[in-house]
């Protein structure tokens, strides 16, 4: 991609990250009353945790010094001590990243593939059964709270049909005769959370692909392609879809924030030991350092995802390429 484009996008990302750091810092200052007081009222706050927080925020110093301490701490990876886990925040977060990446990653891949295929079908057979069905599906999943969909799936597959487990990464207290049987158990646990996430995303991506493709199909170069004597399959595959994919990629990446929101809900329902569930636990326990750390991490992830999307777009769109 053009050098100027690359530099501009990186600069914007850095600017946003800086803004987030400031925002995150002040966020926990707007609590009514002295932050320390309300923290001390928290029953889970041990004296060590409060001391850790005091040190982290440097609450005895003037505000610009406090901010400097905050930034310094951040860069050395010190996000404070978690009230709930009595461990450094970054350690707690670190141990929970993988399950989320696994579940969300699988769901995104599945949803992207299915969504694109269904979207193409819906756009190509506009107004017919496929289109109406997929539109209705999208509309309904869009109107449903993600967690509710999870509850319904649990009640169907776990309770009524007794096919799949309801919680966790693996069955608690289970011993396995082989790696294979452990893998199978893990997969069984993975299915419902991933399915819940996927269904919501499929609804969104199908609608997106369909609408984008319909717009592309009204362009003049599509008429040119038909004029050359190609049939519908070829025109859609070779001319329309490549043009529709560009905005799709951008929007899928920008959607990361929404996906995180969904992950929080899904992980809560299924007690899936990831970042989402961690945030829910931190919430319930009013574990401020942990909350702040997770919030920072999630927002970082979204900004990076957007940046990667910009790079991918710059690589794929010839108008932006060198």
């Amino acid at each position: 991609m053009k050098r100027s484009y690359f530099i501009k996008k990186v600069f914007q990302a850095l600017l946003t990250i800086a803004a987030i750091l400031v925002f995150n810092y002040f966020l926990f200052r707007i609590m009514p009353g002295d932050p320390l007081q309300s923290l001390m009222r928290n029953p889970k706050a041990t004296p060590e945790a409060i001391e850790g927080l005091k040190k982290l925020y440097g609450l005895n110093y003037p505000w610009y010094v406090q901010f400097e301490i905050y930034i310094k701490n951040l860069f050395s990876g010190n996000l404070g001590m978690s009230f709930l886990y009595k461990q450094p925040v970054y350690e707690v977060i670190g141990s929970r990243v993988l399950p989320t990446v696994l579940m969300v990653g699988l769901a995104e891949i599945l949803a992207t593939i299915v969504g694109i295929v269904l979207g193409i079908l819906a756009a190509a057979r506009r107004g017919k059964a496929v289109d109406v069905a997929s539109l209705s599906f999208s509309l309904i999943t869009y109107s449903m709270p993600t967690f509710w969909l999870g509850i319904i799936l649990v009640s169907i597959f776990s309770v009524s049909l007794q096919l799949l487990p309801t919680t966790g990464l693996l069955t608690a207290g289970q011993s396995y005769s082989s790696t294979m049987s452990m893998l199978v158990d893990g997969i069984k646990h993975l299915i419902l959370p991933t399915l819940t996430m996927s269904l919501v995303l499929i609804g969104e991506y199908t609608l997106l692909m369909r609408n984008t493709l319909i717009d592309v199909l009204t362009e003049d170069y599509i008429t040119t392609a038909y004029a050359k004597g190609f049939n519908e399959d070829y025109v859609i595959k070779k001319h329309a879809v490549p043009n529709a994919m560009l905005p799709m990629i951008t929007i899928i990446a920008m959607n990361t924030g929404f996906v995180i929101g969904g992950a929080i809900q899904v992980e809560t329902i299924f007690s899936w030991p990831g970042i989402g569930r961690l945030m829910y636990d931190a919430l319930t326990a009013r574990d401020y350092p942990l909350l702040q750390g997770i919030f920072l991490m999630i927002t970082f992830a979204v900004i990076i995802a957007n940046l990667l999307a910009d790079f991918t777009y710059g690589y794929l769109d010839p108008r932006v390429k060198q």
């Binding site: 966020l27 926990f28 509309l139 709270p145 509710w148 319904i152 929404f258 929101g261 809900q265 979204v302």
Partner: protein, 292 residues
Amino acid sequence: MKDMKSKTKRPKLKKFLVSLRNSKMGTMGSVILVFFLLLAIIGPIIYPFNPQVFGTGREILNSPSMHHLLGTDDMGRDVLGNLIAGSRISLLVGIMATLISMIIGTVLGILAGYYNKRIGSLIMQFTDFFLVIPWLPLMLVLAVILGTSIWNIILVIGLTGWAGTARVVRAQTLSVKERPFIERAVAIGSSGRHIMVKHILPNVFPLVFANTILVSAVAILSETTLSFLGLGDPTQPSWGMMLHYAFESGAASIGAYWFFIPPGLAVVLVVLGFTFLGYAFDEILNPKLKGR
């Protein structure tokens, strides 16, 4: 001049209502919303519900019967009554939060569009910043910090949902700004504030209204999700709180479908209602979109 205005406004409204009735989506959406609105206003009066009154041990999680048409919840309370009472709260929160979002979004959008050089780009940077931050984590964090009374919830949802509106309003303001009557107003010396309020706002309003409908849908989903995650007002029996208690008490594992299905279904219906209406408005305002 004043007479001309009132003469042209009335047929516009009538024409608008007629095209709304002609659109299938518009009628469906309106019907659903009117139903829930009536339910919210009159329902709790006809069929009162007191969340403080618990049932006896035997009345916990009873399946639907003649006595309780939708069964009882984990505290022995009537699910149907809770459902009706919840409509009032969920709709109230949704509408109030949306109002806050719309006001902030419209004001910032018009300002950014009208003063679109330095002030405008500053506002848009701020708006884009808000758009990047993931919505649910932000709401969760704000709710934890501010506390979980119903007014705080309304504030939290309202303060996080304005960015999309601001963007859309700004774009519309930019295009309205180019119209000749604005140029005339500036030429005769009208102040910026006068132009923005008397000229730009009325022209931006239809778009704002259509946007409001769609934002309401998101606001209701947000309240439901926040309450479900334990950040709702525990004294308010909203649909989200019902689902929260349903989950906490393990209703799903027991198969107490009457507890967790109705509130979720109610949310889906209301959101569908707003979405249909919003699409219908969009189509009417932008006839190019017809036939989607």
